[in-house]
């Protein structure tokens, strides 16, 4: 409109940001969509697909160096006792290196090394009454440090199996010729399905800003509040800037809450501080894109009810092709993801949080550039369309 000065007033912008934040916090529907719904989603996926959901059996790799020995039946008894517990399944390896490689990849939760002479050692318990005459041996156990079950439960199970093998059902406090060496903790690179989903869940949650923004603008239009604000010196630029800042703050709060929740339910973030900060920065830039989509939705909608429906034009494609949902689609259809900004957000967050990629990596910077370009274009388009056609429907 002619005659409107373009200078921005910080007092007005901050007052409008404060108003928008209060709306998010005080209105149950906005609070639910911004914070509670994403948290519930993260919790659900974490429990359903993460390690917190529990596992029914655990794989223990076995390297039996006593297999060809003269008393090899003892190692057979030992492994039999171990698997009789029910929650342990053994996988035999010929070489320690192979077993260790699988442990570090998370394919097994523990590796047990049965030493050469194990059978002789067990046998000496029965043939020599004097412990000084026993043939000593030491069973080595390596555990996945990332598995709570592996570190807490497997050592006592192995110890019990060892005692049962040597002594049988007879329980004594006497020493054994075979000892279980102090377990070594090995960091496992095993990732759960949830680890692959979590970056997409962050993007998924931010997409719902489309609904919040479109609903907020249409309600304010219906209630005459936009028109009323328009009678004050507040400029459209100030109003839109405030809306953008408020939604970026919402996205940041949402991201922080989700990040904490994801860690609680078992997400293994490989990102350092800078990588994590970069992930949040990308989410905040992405929130601007969804503010733009929200404004376009508000422009197209005659009422807040219609806005809720129309906003799914922007929500559904982003959700299906650009978040964790897309991973389940056939490869031909997955290509469509490159058309939606959420794809690049999920891609960048996956690289940063899951693979621990450096924030200056070319993939990250390219994704950020695409999301930024998308956000600027969509936001400008949304603001222009809303100012021209959306303010007074």
């Amino acid at each position: 409109m002619l005659g409107v000065k373009n200078s921005m007033n910080l007092t007005r912008i901050m007052a409008l940001v404060n108003k928008d934040i209060k709306k998010t916090v005080r209105e149950p529907a906005a609070l639910f969509l911004t914070l509670l719904f994403p948290v519930m989603l993260m919790l659900f996926f974490g429990l359903a697909f993460g390690r917190a959901g529990g596992e029914s059996t655990y794989q223990v790799g076995v390297v039996n160096l006593d297999a060809g020995g003269p008393q090899s039946r003892w190692s057979g008894y030992f492994l039999g006792n171990l698997t009789s517990v029910g929650v342990i399944r053994t996988v035999e390896y010929a070489a320690n290196e192979t077993a260790q490689a699988d442990l570090s990849q998370g394919n097994v939760q523990a590796v047990l090394i049965i030493p050469s002479g194990f059978g002789q050692s067990c046998s000496s318990f029965w043939t020599a009454a004097d412990p000084s005459l026993w043939v000593r041996a030491s069973v080595q156990l390596y555990l996945d440090s990332g598995s709570m079950f592996a570190t807490q439960a497997i050592p006592p199970i192995v110890q019990q199996a060892l005692e049962a093998t040597i002594r049988g059902p007879q329980r004594t406090t006497a020493q054994l010729p075979v000892e279980l060496a102090s377990p070594s903790l090995v960091a496992s690179a095993k990732l759960t399905a949830f680890d692959y989903m979590a970056p997409g869940v962050f993007a998924f949650a931010t997409i719902f800003l489309v609904l919040i923004v479109s609903s907020s603008f249409t309600v304010e239009r219906e209630e005459g509040l936009l028109r009323r604000i328009n009678t004050t010196p507040a400029t459209p630029s100030e109003f839109m800037t405030a809306a953008s800042i408020a939604n970026m703050i919402s996205a940041l709060a949402q991201g922080l809450l989700l990040f904490v929740m994801s860690l609680v339910v078992g997400f293994h973030s490989s990102a350092g501080l800078t990588g994590t900060v970069m992930a949040f920065a990308i989410l905040m830039v992405f929130s601007l894109c969804n503010v733009g989509f929200g404004l376009i939705t508000a422009t197209l909608s005659k009422s807040s009810g219609a806005a809720n429906g129309i906003s799914f034009i922007f929500v559904i494609p982003q959700m299906f092709f650009g978040t964790f949902v897309g991973a389940a689609l056939p490869p031909d259809i997955q290509v469509l993801g490159r058309l939606v900004p959420s794809y690049y957000v999920t891609d960048a967050l996956t690289s940063l949080l899951l693979r621990g990629a450096p924030w200056t990596g070319p993939t990250i910077l390219l994704d950020l550039a695409v999301v930024s370009a998308y956000s600027v274009i969509v936001l400008i388009l949304g603001v222009l369309l809303f100012r021209k056609y959306g303010k007074s429907q």
């Binding site: 002619l2 005659g3 007052a15 709306k23 009323r228 009678t231 010196p233």
Partner: protein, 247 residues
Amino acid sequence: MQASISIDKLTKKYGDVIAVDGLSLEVGEGELFGLLGPNGAGKTTTINVLCGILEPTSGHVNVGGHDVVKELSDVKEAIGVCPQDTAVYPFLTIKENIELFGKMHAMPSDKLEQNLEYVMGKMRLLEWANKRAGTCSGGIKRRLNMAMGLIHDPEIVFLDEPTVGMDVQARHAVWDFTKELKTRNKTVVLTTHYIEEAEQLCDRVAIIDHGKLIALGTPAQLESKSKEKHLEDVFLKLTGSDVRGEE
């Protein structure tokens, strides 16, 4: 008297519909001016053009010495608006709603705090200051609606049917405050369907119908000219007794 508002051949069209048709009038500085007319006469459209919400199709409008098209920012600095329909943020408290509009005018915090107490006191809102607007009664919201337009102590005030839906006590509070605005030399443009309200409060009134000015003068002048005892009779004589649609 110096003109605070000057309207020259204002026309506003919505497509083929002419809402305001060549309206010309002036409102003096410190004058309490009534804009009367049946539903759909063009009152609210005129107010919306004066506030800069709508652009005129043709004609010139000057408010507080500023052209509403070319110097809209200056016009917005000078005016306070109480819209016809209650427009308040339901999730903000009474105080926060008023405060927000004070901040829209970039008021210094000490002045804002001072005016808040004053305006809430005048509008009898102090008791509900920290109550969310969405949970208040219609009468409180109407008073809040007016307080939000006056918090920055504007020189020119537009009150578009400010007393609709108010009980007698609240109406009197609004009338008292409106009279006080006049004593402080504020220019007030009041639209109302309560003719006795205009008769009691306004220095001059304009009656418009079908977007055109059909009478202008003090209530006494209009009564005398029409040889009627009450302004309402003058109004009915000039606009007829047919029931009109909403504006």
